[in-house]
């Protein structure tokens, strides 16, 4: 008896989870599941006749074979490697160290001072970096050794860096926000602007959490005080170039003087990288260091792109199985309150995000979930007055975008697949992935609080983009 495509879709999805749990590398597990699913679908179409298996195999392989090239050769995705490169170039330009040093001298006197400084330094760095993983990778080299020196728990120090890295995707510029904007066809500039307050807000919540922990736990890292005002002020100039890069990028995303922006966010990212590159040259970076930066960039980029095309082979199979259509029908047919449905969607992201990376997850889900959420609010062009969530269609798109990206960032630090934790463990030989996951656990609470507040008070997200 032939199975319906949707049943095949569900069966293969189950198979994918098994492969992932068995420890197959995620990118390839998704690709293989998609490939097998496609073979199955095409063979089922011919009624499983023995002589048609060869045909089904050929068609499936050729269909899957289109995906890697056609999906990665996209201008939108070119942002990812560029933003990763900014991170590594800034590291070699000494910018990250300067920023951390300034943060240390100004705020390390509070309880848990060095960890709080790390959070604010990553937030500052987030204004030039658009990729969470790269931010975590560079701060793992700078902040962790300093925290270890004054007696922080190794795991917690790693956790701070892994969590701090996620700020880079909320505070503009952000590769993942741009990708969201492109998938759902919304105004990139406003979306990037909308990320700013939630990003700062997240940083604040992280900082409060650390202060709270420092006050309650004995033997937590001590405050670092005793910097004179002079020492504080001399730490600022070396960090200033960051401001220059920030301003450059802002002008590309959104011209504050009301004229045209200078270009697209993609170009802005690349120009930012170029400015940082020039600074690194000025600070004495030579071919050896540049080569290291390029190799690191390549490694992280290829890892992310392999996941992207692997997941997209699987998504292509889902398209043939018509699973997205079935899901959209199901969601819109539910008789729960819209707010409850939204909360359930966010929870589903938390679960899914355990097994996926952020970009793969968005590519997989948004084509289905986004229209459903917009429909819940009353449609793409609904006015704030007629809407379910009290915001116009475009505003809802922005709000949901920030929520989803915050969820995706949360998933970067949750086990078993939390990219930021893998990256931090990868940089530090003395830390296992499990160590980092243990250290980052307190930040789950902080992120939970942040997400709840962003859901309850959409104004945190929408106020800034509402001003332009």
């Amino acid at each position: 008896m032939a199975m319906e495509p949707i049943d095949i879709g569900l069966a293969v999805t189950g198979g994918l989870l098994v492969l992932v749990v068995l420890g197959m590398r995620v990118a390839f597990a998704a690709g293989l599941a998609g490939m097998i699913g496609l073979i199955w679908i095409f063979w089922a179409k011919k009624g499983y006749a023995g002589e048609d298996f060869g045909w089904a195999l050929t068609v499936a392989v050729k269909t899957a074979g289109q995906v890697p090239h056609s999906k990665v050769s996209s201008q939108a995705l070119s942002l990812i490697p560029t933003f990763i490169m900014i991170g590594y170039l800034a590291y070699y330009a000494g910018l990250t160290r300067a920023l951390f040093e300034a943060a240390k001298r100004w705020i390390a006197w509070v309880p848990g001072g060095l960890a709080v400084s790390t959070v604010f330094a990553t937030a500052g760095f987030a204004a030039v970096s658009g990729a969470s993983v790269a931010t975590s990778a560079v701060f793992a080299r700078i902040a962790i050794p300093e925290m270890l020196k004054i007696g922080y728990d190794k795991k917690f120090a790693a956790g701070v860096v892994a969590a701090g890295g996620t700020l880079a995707s909320l505070i503009p510029p952000s590769a993942i926000l741009v990708i969201y904007a492109i998938i759902v066809e919304q105004d990139v500039g406003k979306l990037l602007l909308a990320g700013f307050l939630p990003g700062m807000f997240s940083a604040l919540v992280y900082a409060l959490l650390i202060v709270g922990l420092a006050l309650t736990i004995k033997g937590f890292g001590p405050p670092v005080g005793g910097f004179t005002w002079r020492e504080r002020f001399v730490s600022l100039p070396p960090a200033l170039p960051i401001l220059f890069v920030v301003v450059t990028i802002i002008f590309f995303v959104y011209n504050p003087f009301g004229g045209d922006a200078w270009g697209t966010p993609t170009e802005g990212g690349a120009i930012g990288a170029f400015v940082v590159f020039l600074m690194a040259l000025y600070r004495g970076m030579r071919w050896t260091e540049l080569k290291d930066a390029l190799l690191e960039t390549a490694k992280l980029s290829v890892m992310i792109f392999t996941i992207i095309w692997g997941v997209l082979i699987y998504v292509r199979f889902l398209g043939f199985a018509d699973l997205p259509g079935a899901f959209a029908d199901w969601i819109t047919g539910l008789s729960m309150s819209p707010m409850l449905i939204l909360v359930c969607i966010l929870l589903a992201y938390a679960v899914l995000g355990m097994f996926m990376d952020a970009i793969g997850m968005l590519l997989l889900t948004l084509p289905v979930v986004y229209p459903a959420v917009m429909a819940l609010n009353g449609g793409e062009f609904v006015s704030a007055a007629d809407s379910t969530f009290g915001m116009s269609g475009p505003m809802c798109a922005i709000w949901f975008g920030i929520l989803v990206v915050k969820m995706a960032e949360f998933c970067l630090i949750t086990p078993p697949i939390g990219l930021n934790c893998f990256v931090v463990a990868g940089v530090r030989d003395d830390l296992s992935v499990q160590d980092v996951f243990k250290g980052v656990t307190p930040f789950f609470i902080a992120d939970g609080v942040t997400i709840a507040l962003l859901v309850a008070f959409p104004a945190i997200v929408l106020w800034l983009p509402g001003q332009v």
């Binding site: 095409f42 045909w55 050929t58 068609v59 050729k62 269909t63 289109q66 056609s70 999906k71 201008q75 492109i182 066809e185 105004d187 990139v188 500039g189 590309f252 045209d260 922006a261 200078w262 270009g263 697209t264 966010p265 292509r316 889902l318 398209g319 043939f320 018509d322 997205p324 259509g325 084509p367």
Partner: protein
């Protein structure tokens, strides 16, 4: 029997003929033969011909300008200033060219048979900034224009850039382009009207050609009854398409311009005649040379197109 159909974007005027075809075929066969339309789930829009040639799906839509080298023969219909005046003419001209042996051979490389066009009206520019009251004002202006339209705009000194439709709004927002050429439905559905300050009513430099094709083996594998239901429904599907475009889309267009205070710019005939003279012949000449080198009977295709169009105009 079920055919998978690969389209992209969402349901819009541009896809109405396929939606109608699916409806008619299902009705005529009492639901025994259905077209299962997918918007982007089965393929990228630029890989629809690949999918057809593989046999991954049985029917698809694509635009000639997305990949000139895949389908050089039908790009003749995207040459600037061919002189097509109505959707009916565009439809009849496309259908006639699709029957040309050189076109059939070109598409046969992809195991594809063209079923019908997606006739679009002449493209015109909507833009921001100083309205180009004269054609000289296009000098140095960055515009989004593809294929033949881009070539024509170059003769005015404009700087054409092409990008896929979904990226256009962002490019306009960020000042990468100042004006965008689209058919009216796309000016509306891609949000250009939200930003635009002016629109050219009669520049009419050309249009794009986007056929709907079937996998040849699948088409031949249909029972006579099902094939008749499919082929026999094309006329009606296209009638519906044109009716929809004229009476729904274009009916919205005028009010949309008024509502948003978008200025209409109309050029005098002699200005346009000069533009056409400067742009049309060189573009045609370049096209013929390039495609002759490719082994196509390019001159013949070009002459056939002009003659057919002249005939169509003389009949009406």
């Amino acid at each position: 029997e079920e055919w998978n159909v690969s389209l992209w974007g969402k349901r819009r005027a541009f896809t109405e003929q396929v939606e109608k075809l699916a409806e008619l075929v299902s009705d005529k066969t009492n639901g025994e033969f259905t077209l299962n339309i997918s918007y982007g789930g089965l393929s990228n829009n630029r890989e629809n011909l690949d999918g057809i040639s593989i046999g991954a799906f049985e029917m698809a839509q694509f635009c000639a300008g997305y990949h000139r080298d895949k389908n050089p023969s039908i790009t003749v219909l995207e040459l600037p200033f061919l002189g097509v005046e109505t959707l009916e003419q565009e439809r009849a001209l496309s259908m006639a060219l699709y029957q040309h042996p050189a076109v059939k051979k070109d598409l046969a490389r992809w195991n594809a048979t063209i079923l019908m066009p997606s006739p679009l009206p002449q493209y015109n520019f909507a833009g921001v900034g100083e309205p180009p009251e004269t054609l000289d004002a296009f000098e140095g202006l960055a515009v989004r224009a593809t294929g033949g339209i881009g070539a024509a705009m170059e003769t005015l000194g404009a700087v054409p850039t092409s990008m896929s439709a979904t990226e256009v709004r962002q490019a306009l927002d960020s000042g990468v382009v100042k004006a965008v050429s689209f058919a009216p439905h796309a000016h509306m559905s891609f949000g250009i009207v939200e930003k635009a300050e002016w629109w050219t009513t009669n520049l009419n430099p050309g249009t794009v050609n986007c056929p709907v094709v079937a996998n040849t083996d699948a088409l031949e594998g249909l029972s006579d009854e099902h094939r008749e239901a499919l082929i026999g429904s094309i006329e009606e599907a296209l009638n519906h398409y044109i009716d929809y475009y004229q009476n729904q889309t274009m009916a919205k267009w005028g009010p949309t311009l008024d509502e948003r205070g978008i200025e209409r710019i109309t050029y005098p005939d002699e200005t346009l005649a000069a533009f056409e003279e400067a742009a049309a012949a060189p573009a045609a000449q370049a096209w013929i040379e390039e495609n002759s080198a490719r082994g196509l009977p390019a001159q013949e295709l070009y002459d056939f197109t002009l003659e057919t169009l002249a005939e169509l105009k003389s009949v009406n």
